[in-house]
Symmetry: C2
Subunit: 213 residues, 2 copies
């Protein structure tokens, strides 16, 4: 209990690692046991370093923070992982929490906030930044968005519409008749409450329906 909390930093920005190091240096109950500059590296190194708390960036060149989080927790579920991300507009809040991250902070966080988050994570408590929490709530609302009422088939059709395909093309691609495609299109339009296929495509883009696939 009187021991130092062992912390590992994972971030591809050297200057961020330097900055965090400066933060941790002020606390004599925290010990930095290692760093990694990518998700892959983090997964390879953490077992030798056995940190208790890991500060993890999300967006990295090699191996995302989410992937690394999953793999690390798969091997040692006791690790406490704090996600540190640059933006609060990330659609990755959900995946990160699903992956098992304890806390979710923004990089605008102050020294104190990060130190506190480390202590709390070590004690098994969760810390989530206010702006991120808001995203979580609006994210929950988003679950009720019209697009979720679409059937699997309709979603496939909508995707093709969003690619600019005609009904005839869609029919060939899905091996169904044009009439059937029209039926699907009609129900898509009424479910999304839009007037035509162009508006449906606009809807798809504005709601980022297919951007991550």
């Amino acid at each position: 209990m009187a021991d130092k909390i062992k912390v590992m930093i994972v971030d591809d920005h050297d200057m961020v690692r330097k900055g965090l190091k400066a933060y941790l240096a002020t606390e004599d109950t925290i010990e930095l046991v290692g760093e990694a500059s990518s998700g892959h590296q983090a997964v390879r190194r953490f077992e030798a370093l056995h940190p208790e708390v890991i500060l993890m960036d999300l967006i990295m060149e090699e191996g995302s923070g989410i992937e690394a989080t999953k793999q690390i927790l798969a091997r040692d579920p006791a690790k406490k992982i704090i996600i540190l991300t640059s933006f609060y507009d990330d659609e990755q809040v959900f995946p990160a929490i699903e992956a098992g991250a304890m806390s979710y902070l923004l990089k605008t966080a102050s020294s104190e906030e990060i130190i506190q988050a480390i202590y709390k994570a070590h004690a098994g408590k969760t810390v989530i930044d206010g702006k991120v929490a808001q995203k979580l709530i609006t994210g929950l609302h988003k679950t009720t968005q019209p697009a979720d009422q679409l059937t699997t088939r309709e979603r496939e059709v909508l995707k093709l519409i969003a690619e600019g395909r005609s009904n005839a093309e869609i029919a060939k691609l899905l091996f169904i008749g044009i009439k059937t495609v029209k039926t699907h299109v009609s129900s898509i339009l009424s479910k999304l409450d839009v007037a035509d296929r162009t508006q449906a495509a606009v809807y798809a883009y504005q709601n980022h329906l297919f951007s991550k696939e």
Copy 2:
């Protein structure tokens, strides 16, 4: 000449400022004269601090780095501004250079790279990260993209198409006849080499034509 180079840091991430500070501390010919955590703050403070070189982040909550760069150079064109950004996928490379930034580095840059960039900027030389340079070249190619052949009016029409408007709606909004709208639409379709308005909308979204307006 033997004097220290006066540097100012502008970034909304405290930990990044800490990291940069650690970088600069190793060089005894560089002096950190001040910091700012937003573009607005930078513009307000730089005159009192009179730095020679400014390390500027692009994405900040209050006042973008580009805006701050423009305003600072408007008051003192002799300032050397180095852009430091997180991503190389930024479409902001062009605007930043237009705004008058000397150099463009990524936050993945090492301590040495940043120190070197500061010396070079001070000497009036430009440094551009390799990945960013590639973007610049592909960006130049993009200048020849079909959308640039559109006239002002056609661009207005395309924007409305990308909102899902019908020809009739567009006619009313622009105070012109439906026939005229059709003429514009036809020339847009042929210039963009797409088959119908839906594909035009898709084109607009995939090329981020109106995302920043």
